[in-house]
């Protein structure tokens, strides 16, 4: 049994930090120590930022993005072409595509993919919201930027079916996105190339 060198408060801080993706127990320890040493310049403003985030962050009721405003900054942006919607599985994918900066358009976050084995069905995803947005009019193109996994492609197929008969063009990312490759892991060049060379579904 290792001996405790800190009180329960610091232990708790370390445990919570260790739950952040990319931080293991070791780096969580290092981060905690760093925060404690930089109490005024770092720990205090971080604590404030976390408190504000907790109070204000929510999910955009239109597109499913996370932001402190609803509609979110992306939906409210008049500079964007709001007639094109890129459909993604996760907010992380939205951020990845924004980083690539290939298209200045709107998004729709599904919140996952259809997966019978995980008990995720159409009603568990934000698909109805997408159909509503298209039905409301003014949308000319839907870009399905789902992953090239079985679940991702099944979901793309399903959405295409739900949008059938509506006056909207449906495209998907060009092949060249590696099979099973998750968008979030792709570099910006690959992402923007895949968007530019999108094909009809």
């Amino acid at each position: 049994m290792a001996k405790r060198v800190t009180g329960p408060e610091i232990e708790r801080l370390i445990q919570l930090l260790a739950r952040i993706p990319g931080l293991g127990p070791r780096s969580a320890r290092r981060a905690a120590l760093h925060l404690i040493k930089k109490k005024e310049p770092l720990l205090a403003p971080l604590a404030d930022a976390l408190a504000v985030a907790r109070d204000k962050v929510g999910v955009c009721s239109r597109c499913g993005n996370v932001d402190t405003a609803d509609p979110c900054a992306v939906c409210a942006d008049p500079q964007r072409d709001q007639s094109v919607i890129i459909v993604v599985e996760d907010v992380a994918d939205l951020w990845a595509l924004e980083r690539a900066g290939a298209m200045n358009v709107a998004y729709h976050v599904l919140g996952g993919t259809l997966s019978p084995l995980d008990g995720v069905g159409p009603d568990d995803l934000n698909i109805a919201g997408l159909v509503e947005r298209v039905a409301a009019g003014g949308i000319v193109e839907i870009v399905l930027a789902v992953n090239a996994t079985v679940e991702g492609q099944t979901t793309a197929h399903y959405i295409t079916d739900r949008l059938a008969g509506m006056d909207v063009k449906i495209t998907r990312l060009a092949h060249g996105v590696p099979v099973g490759g998750e968008l979030d892991y792709l570099d910006e060049g690959t992402l923007s190339a895949a968007l530019r060379a999108r094909t009809n579904f």
Binding site: L114, P116, H157, V179
Partner: protein, 381 residues
């Protein structure tokens, strides 16, 4: 002549009956001898885990971690690989890893375990495969898919995706969720994967057939020629273009939802395919051939496959031959050894009796295994 791929060093930590062991190989063939239960097969199994998948015993990883050890097992190897010298590390069996096997190549985490195929291709023959021709079709399919994987690294992923999609469809049907659009989405994926799998298997069978027919005279005289054929899926539609096969299969899946729901499984697809093997000369199905003939047919298949991998990749695969000498008479044994030599790859063999391998003296390194310790023996047979 293909470049030689060989393992130079192998280290085992908490693997089966070994707590800590490092072996150095001289680049030649390796013969492990020792009593029953000494740990010979375990060493071959460790090497088999340098290729993707669950190794030659198809284990759940936790059972391979040494009894009484706390975590999982770790294997490490230095290889003269297809892409030059490389180090391969793999670890699994630790409860905390959740049944996954992690692979490191040249010190960096591999993105997928298939990356191992960039460095070594490994083929094996074990006594457990003796019943291959008489056993269930699933065993032959797995045998076939492993062989395909060694020449087509995308095949493993294809098969895994297909099986997952199929389980998803089964689940929807069994829950009575006849959601047309959702099922169609899954079936479109299934059709694409099914045809890709069938085509990859068919291409492979065609290539292997060419090599089986070209078997060198000496081998042909000692090991009966096998004729192989795929059956059980789209047998009469091989002439169709892949996209037509996909359309047909997707339509057939849509029609058979109720039937599959009633059966509790998918009744049609490449998961129902079988590899039919026939003793060519006698036109006799392998399943009805004698025990010795079956073994010889199997050896012939495995060796032809090894030659195919060598031809296609430029490097002969590493061969793991467990108890290989046991059922062969001396002249067949000698032929086998010379075929293995001609292949140009490194072979690892086991047997209880070193004398069975006397013909390999000078061409192989002899290691004697005794209750988890391994010592080099100077051949005295």
């Amino acid at each position: 002549m293909p470049d030689k791929v060989a393992i130079g060093r192998l280290s085992l930590t908490d693997f089966r009956n070994y707590s800590e062991l490092t072996l150095r190989f001289a680049g030649k063939h390796v013969v492990f001898t020792g009593n029953n239960g000494a740990g010979k097969t375990n060493l071959l199994e460790a090497i088999s885990l340098l290729s993707p998948g669950r190794g030659m015993r198809r284990i759940t990883y936790s059972e391979a971690a040494r009894e009484g050890s706390t975590g999982g097992f770790t294997l490490f190897a230095e290889v003269e690989g297809m892409a030059g010298p490389a180090t391969i590390g793999t670890t699994a069996g630790d409860e905390a890893e959740g049944g996954q096997r992690r692979v490191r190549i040249n010190g960096a985490a591999a993105r997928t375990n298939e990356a191992l195929l960039d460095h070594v291709r490994i083929t094996w023959l074990t006594p457990a495969m003796d019943g291959l021709f008489t056993g269930p079709a699933g065993d032959r399919r797995r045998f076939l898919d492993r062989m395909v994987l060694a020449v087509d690294p995308g095949h493993g992923r294809r098969v895994a995706d297909y099986e997952k999609a199929m389980r998803g469809r089964n689940r929807l049907l069994s829950e009575g969720r006849f959601d047309r659009a959702w099922l169609e989405g899954i079936e479109a994926q299934l059709a694409e994967l099914a045809v890709a799998i069938a085509v990859a298997r068919q291409d492979f069978v065609r290539l292997l057939t060419i090599l089986l027919e070209r078997a060198p005279g000496e081998a042909a005289s000692r090991f009966p020629k096998a004729a192989i054929k795929l059956t059980g899926f789209m047998d009469d539609q091989q002439a169709l273009a892949a996209s037509d096969m996909e359309t047909r299969f997707a339509a057939s899946l849509a029609e058979s939802r109720w039937r599959d729901e009633a059966a509790g499984r998918m009744l049609e697809g490449p998961h129902r395919q079988d590899l039919e093997v026939v003793h060519a000369e006698k036109s006799m199905p392998a399943a009805q051939s004698s025990t010795g003939e079956q073994k010889a047919l199997l050896v012939g298949l495995v060796l032809a496959h090894a030659r195919l991998v060598g031809d296609l990749t430029g490097a002969a695969p590493i061969l793991l031959l467990d108890e290989i000498a046991a059922h062969l008479d001396p002249s067949r044994r000698a032929t086998l050894f010379s075929i293995i030599d001609d292949l140009g790859g490194q072979a690892f063999m086991t047997g209880t009796d070193a004398a069975l391998f006397s013909a390999l003296e000078g061409r192989a390194q002899f290691l004697s295994v005794n209750a988890g310790t391994v010592t080099e023996t100077v051949f005295d047979g």
